[in-house]
């Protein structure tokens, strides 16, 4: 063990040199990976605040299904001759659309949908009970249907299947400058929204009843979040795949929450933690030739129980 430890520590200068060399050649890969981690950790705070961690997995899987539908349509429409940009646009659109449908279902109060249906004069009856039902069953159904559907739909398309395999494998190799710009733009919008409305959003997501009672526009805030998180998740999934997306969505938040008592501080801590883990995962993965996204999620996964231990020893009391 000592030999191995000495090996890792003596490798540090080499790891750094190797990282800087590769970084110069493929900056887009590193930038997109780090930005995806930062963006998703911000979104993840509110998902964890609503205790809907597993819904995050269902959303990423549904988004994969959306990409699968896009690839299926490309095959049907004979778009194989279309430009890469047009195909990319269609794939991104379906990925975001599928994610948005999920986030609207998961985070917007159902009374909004009832009121909307009633305004459209559809014969629906308001159901108070349906709001209180657990969403676990639908979450599981979404997860399974999307997982199976994305493979079944493209089983006759070798190219399409390869894309889906790549997404499930969660590789970030091939990220472009456009991807970096897209995630950077969404992140900037996210940071601006957090700076402006952090307290209101936190209250709506931690205590909706009270937020409504003091006249915060809870449903409006939920709609904006559903839209924003749908766009963020859809875009990040297309760039980095399901494992990395889901991992960065929840693990940095769960880890950071074990070190602090304040939800407001979490909005700063979680993105910092996400960046540090992504930096470590990408640098080590690059040097030891291990898939970087998997290594990042693995490092976070290993660190989570350590953070739990720290919490029970030093924070709780």
């Amino acid at each position: 063990m000592n030999t191995e430890e000495r090996g890792i520590f003596s490798d540090i200068p080499n790891i750094w040199n190797n990282f800087t060399e590769t970084y110069d050649f493929f900056p887009e890969i590193f930038h997109s990976g780090w930005l995806v981690a930062i963006l998703l950790s911000m979104v993840g705070i509110l998902i964890v605040a609503r205790s809907k961690v597993f819904i995050g997995a269902a959303i990423t899987q549904t988004s994969t299904f959306g990409i699968s539908i896009a690839l299926f349509i490309i095959g049907l429409e004979g778009m194989s001759d279309a430009t890469g940009q047009a195909k990319d646009g269609l794939i991104l659109f379906y990925s975001i659309l599928a994610a948005c449908l999920c986030t609207f279902w998961a985070f917007v109060n159902k009374s909004f949908f009832w009121q909307l249906l009633q305004k459209l004069k559809l014969p629906v009856q308001t159901s108070k009970e349906s709001n209180q039902n657990s969403k676990e069953d639908v979450t599981a159904w979404l997860f399974l249907l999307s997982s199976a559907g994305s493979i079944v739909l493209l089983s006759k398309s070798p190219i399409g299947k390869e894309v889906i395999d790549k997404l499930i494998f969660s590789t970030i190799i091939g990220a472009t400058k456009e991807d970096v710009n897209l995630v950077a733009t969404i992140s900037l919008i996210g940071i601006t929204l957090i700076c402006l409305f952090m307290d209101k959003v936190t209250l709506v997501f931690t205590d909706r009843d009270y937020a409504t009672a003091i006249r915060l526009p809870a449903t409006f805030i939920e709609i904006v979040f559903a839209l924003f998180s749908g766009v963020a998740l859809g875009a990040c999934l297309k760039i980095s795949g399901t494992l990395y997306t889901f991992g960065c969505l929840v693990l940095p938040v769960l880890i950071s929450a074990n070190f602090i008592k304040s939800t407001r501080v979490l909005f700063f801590m979680a993105p910092i933690a996400a960046f540090l883990f992504a930096f470590l995962g990408f640098a080590l993965g690059n040097f030891y030739d291990i898939p970087q996204t998997q290594l990042t999620v693995f490092c976070m996964g290993i660190f989570y129980p350590i953070s739990l231990l720290f919490n029970s020893l030093f924070i709780k009391n």
């Binding site: 609503r50 307290d199 931690t206 304040s262």
Partner: protein, 244 residues
């Protein structure tokens, strides 16, 4: 002379497809301490939501004199703090008052409301480390930071032990007597309502019967109201046994 008052006349409440209460009449004056009792599903929550302006009445009028809906403080049920994320007591209070997190008087305001609910030694503590009773008093502190003239509490004693209920009733009495805050208390604990309130509304069978607590909480009326009601039967039976 009363400084503020809420007059409710011929009020019918419910949702588009279902009427919950018909023709309710009530006058809530400054310094009143009202109890709202009745089986679940009989309109207590709809009534307070309507008072807060969150639900529109089907018919009838609510007239606010000397206060607006912003002067109403609300303490939801314990279960409303559902987040898995932790929060400090200070943050919990600060979040509810717009502008407070960045104001110069933030610290002193929060210290003052924590003191008013006897939690002055809990500033900056994690809310997860507080007992059920302390969390409930913290919820009251959160409502008090907005300087309410009327405080509505939705089943604050649910799940609390005997000592915590004692602290809570003592606190509510003090807020009502010394700070002149008008209080509406929803509770299934008829003993608490009987001990604390001077007036009571009994919600049952689509009607809201209001009057002096001693006149409303009679064996006859309570038995009639809770017949066929599964929920809160235990607490009601205990109360009836004691009264008998």
């Amino acid at each position: 002379m009363n400084n503020h008052q809420i007059s409710i006349s011929d009020l019918s409440l419910g949702y588009s497809s279902k009427k919950v209460i018909s023709q309710a009449n009530l006058n809530i004056s400054e310094g009143d301490f009202w109890g709202l009792v009745g089986p679940n599903g009989q309109g207590k929550s709809t009534f307070i939501k309507t008072l807060m302006g969150l639900v529109r009445p089907l018919s009838g009028k609510i007239k606010y004199v000397g206060l607006s809906r912003k002067d109403i403080g609300y303490v939801p049920q314990r279960s409303s703090v559902t987040s898995t994320l932790d929060m400090t007591t200070t943050e919990f209070i600060a979040l509810s008052a717009p502008g407070l997190p960045f104001s110069k008087t933030r610290k002193s305001t929060i210290t003052s409301v924590l003191k008013s609910v006897w939690l002055n030694n809990k500033g900056g503590r994690s809310i997860k480390t507080l007992s059920g009773g302390e969390r409930q008093r913290l919820s009251i502190a959160r409502a008090l930071v907005r300087n309410p003239k009327l405080l509505i509490l939705d089943e604050p004693d649910t799940g609390l032990d005997f000592t915590s209920i004692g602290h809570l009733t003592e606190l509510l009495t003090e807020l009502n007597a010394n700070k002149k805050i008008t209080i509406l208390l929803i509770s299934h604990n008829l003993h608490t309502v009987q001990r604390l309130t001077s007036k009571t509304v009994l919600f049952a069978h689509g009607q809201a019967h209001s009057g002096a607590t001693s006149e409303v909480l009679t064996n006859e009326k309570i038995t009639a109201a809770f017949t066929n009601s599964q929920i809160s039967q235990d607490s009601v039976l205990k109360w009836l046994q004691k009264e008998a």
